[in-house]
Symmetry: C2
Subunit: 148 residues, 2 copies
């Protein structure tokens, strides 16, 4: 038998229902390749121009709130996929750069992420996929999302 | 056991020694996922501005010569990977668009190709990978090449 091509997968997860296909692919690959799976969710820094328009209570830390929400979603995803807590990561920063940084830190040999079309959220996902593709030192699996 | 995530892989092969890692990845994945593997090599149309500067014998059809060379290389690769002749394809045209067209024709669910850095041949491979990523209706595996 040929050697297993990948030993450590990094799944960039955003918890959106429309990216469930990406999660399913990563889980299937992990099972068939008997690989380790690390889950990563990136909380993007809010652009200042946008966050300045929000009316927020004083002492309300939006980024921290987003991280708290992400922690709950990550816990649920990790339980569902049977990924141990040590392999569930939440980071803040630029999505593309953070995926690349974590991939190197953990020695991932395959980054799994969603790739998409040209409109709205789709375009954003596509641009993250391209930036990861350009910068990655390991292989990248771009999973096509079902919605256009 | 989870279902096999991919049933039909399309490998974009260019026969260059430095892309041997891409071939190896596709072969490993095929074995572990028990998938069908189709090999595709694209002979790019030569840009007219370039071919006009070549001094060629009359009646010499450069594109046809390139296709003949590709046929021999494809036969060798197909034998080595045990891919039946019906799953070995040589096409002429734009690399990115041809990969996308053949992927749809054969119903591939994963396109496997090389992805690379920013210099010379590397940049060219990278731009093909990006154009395939943008246009593909199926998943795309970009295999990082060892050389920069």
């Amino acid at each position: 038998m040929t050697p297993f091509p990948y030993r450590h997968l990094l799944l960039a997860a955003d918890f959106a229902p429309e990216t469930e296909g990406v999660v399913a692919r990563a889980a299937e690959l992990r099972a068939h390749l008997r690989a380790r799976l690390t889950l990563l969710h990136v909380v993007e820094y809010l652009p200042m121009s946008y966050s300045g328009d929000l009316v927020l209570p004083e002492d309300f830390d939006l980024e921290q709130e987003l991280v708290e929400v992400a922690k709950r979603q990550m816990a649920a995803l990790g339980e569902r996929l049977d990924v141990p807590p040590g392999d569930r990561r939440i980071e803040t920063g630029s999505t593309g750069r953070t995926i690349l940084r974590v991939a190197e830190e953990i020695g991932a040999d395959l980054i799994v992420l969603g790739s998409h079309g040209r409109h709205g959220l789709a375009a954003l996902l596509g641009s993250t996929a391209r930036s990861v593709l350009n910068g990655a030192k390991c292989d990248v699996l771009a999973v096509r999302l079902g919605v256009e």
